[in-house]
Symmetry: C2
Subunit: 348 residues, 2 copies
């Protein structure tokens, strides 16, 4: 391809702004895709230049998952909307017990967004994708008017394969199972919230945004019979456990003291009037496993850098009401309800 | 599941409005997904209630494609953003020569959108998906503030399988090949544009938005060696042919009189100062085939209801400049360039 002929001048990544022509499907769209997205993601699938990317599939169980990302602000301590859009979808694939293979990404860009900002986001996305070894093989860009968007919204879709012998589902929890958590909760939500509110918190709390598929692979290698995997994102740990309790028609009894919360996050939650149980995470997972499997899975989690703080936080119970309950530090007991209302909008 | 217990009252689909709680990941989000999306799409994959949908895969070549839809207005003669989001992605899968299997959809919804409007869009999407026999098996919803969105943006992702022996690619056109077009151009763009500008056009021009995978299957059955398939959406026929010329390093010579344009569309284009060659289509395809295959493929197209008006519109030429040229009605010749600048933003 002879870019010199096709485009009168290269994209001005330093001073340029997104305008409506970048979404009109003509020359400006092609240039944006080629010079910004194509270069950042740089892989043979995108280089084909087709709307649809082709890949070799094997016989087996495949998963498909999609997530829109609208986090505000787009940059926060520990990540940005680009890395988050990669991690979030990889994690959704991994929580089905699957090995993530490929990603597709669509961008709805606000007119007037500096090209430099878009490039920073796309570069971060490309880096996250390379680090996770899950390439972005297909994409699309649209542009909306200044007052109809907000920076960029990114929808990331993932496909993966479920290994033989693995059957992970939110419906598989049974009374007597153990509830494991891979690490401390609330970091992502507080990191986003604190920069949104321009809070000067004592310590810099960083998002835990990370791809969890390697951790999941280690856990499944230790015990392929893991029953449930779920990442407690929007709605937090409390809502996610309620979803599982409902899907599996069980109850749960948690132990508050066993749930790791970073002291700085706990302090920030107190300041903001938030309950860490409902604050979003982007790098933590819940695993529900048979009692006999719990020690081996917990050991596998703790042996992985992303599960060093892993803990058993409760047990699955029989409960016709599907309540999630918690024994508190004072020997009491409370019901952990679903998140009601709006705690933290646009957190992911 | 006992919705009565989980949700104090059913969604008010008649008078209710989307608010930020519908995107916060708690109870309101779950209710929206269950009572609106779950009911409309109603299939066993979504009923599983997981972030990732599982399906059986066969060994072979699979395709993955994604498209954000931001069409404005959301409802237009002949379709709406919901049906368009299904057709557009099915067509992208089909243009890779693949049989579409499954869709995933993400929704970025503007705060304040009437639930009745959202339900209408989702119902249209579900209808289009059922008619095409390509189910929506995974989804996601996010909500953004009133001044940060515009109704709803829908990203649809599709997966499909390429049949044995099929190898369709924008890089495969060769000098001497024939360029076929399945029907008249410009209908979609003019339908959207006319209601956007509140034009009272003589006749009601309707979008051609439709799923083309059955037409493609008939064509591939006639001749599996079809070289290129492409749907001329954003940027129109002119831009799409330029893309192919560039990817295949060839030129093209079109015959203006052979390109079907509906008289009402032609009149509207004249009124609006638009060239139909650059107006978007959502239910038309270009096929480039070997000269020997052209009669059989054209016959297969014409035998299908979506290709009744199919025509051979030109030939592929050797051209080191990769120019698309056209012989005009007056015996002249012009270069058909890429769409430059903003002709029709937010047309899909």
């Amino acid at each position: 391809m002879s870019a010199g002929r096709d485009y009168p001048r290269p994209l001005d990544l330093r001073h340029g702004l997104i305008d409506m022509t970048h979404g009109a499907g003509g020359r400006a769209s092609a240039q944006l895709i080629e010079e910004l997205f194509g270069r950042a993601f740089d892989n043979p699938w995108l280089a084909e230049g087709h709307d649809a990317a082709r890949f070799a599939a094997e016989r087996g169980r495949m998963v498909l998952t999609t997530d829109a990302h609208v986090v505000s602000p787009m940059f926060f301590p520990g990540g940005d909307i680009g890395s988050l859009a990669v991690h979030g979808t990889i994690n959704d694939v991994a929580m089905a017990g699957a090995r993530p293979m490929y990603l597709a990404a669509s961008f709805v860009i606000q007119e007037g967004l500096p090209l430099a900002t878009l490039e920073r986001i796309v570069a971060s996305m490309a880096r996250a994708s390379r680090e996770a070894r899950v390439p972005v093989i297909a994409g699309d860009t649209k542009v909306v008017e200044k007052d109809k968007g907000d920076g960029v919204f990114i929808t990331t879709t993932g496909v993966g394969m479920v290994p033989e012998g693995v059957d992970v589902s939110g419906r598989n929890a049974r009374a007597g199972d153990r509830v494991l958590l891979s690490g401390s909760i609330g970091d992502h939500g507080i990191a986003v919230m604190s920069c949104r509110q321009n809070l000067k918190l004592d310590s810099q709390i960083r998002s835990d945004s990370v791809a969890l598929h390697d951790l999941v692979a280690s856990m499944l290698q230790a015990r392929p019979g893991i029953r449930v995997l779920r990442d407690p994102t929007r709605g937090g740990l409390g809502t996610t456990l309620n979803e599982i309790a409902r899907q599996s028609a069980v109850g749960m009894m948690l132990q508050e003291s066993a749930i790791p919360v970073d002291p700085a996050v706990r302090a920030a939650c107190e300041l903001l009037g938030l309950d860490p149980l409902y604050v979003a995470n982007e790098g933590k997972l819940i695993a529900i496993v048979a009692a006999d499997d719990a020690p081996a899975v917990l050991a596998a989690m703790r042996a992985h850098p992303l599960g060093a703080q892993a803990a058993q936080i409760g047990v699955v119970t029989e409960d016709p009401h599907h309540f999630v309950q918690m024994t508190t530090g004072f020997g009491g007991r409370r019901v952990v309800d679903w998140l009601s209302g709006e705690q933290l909008p646009r957190i992911c």
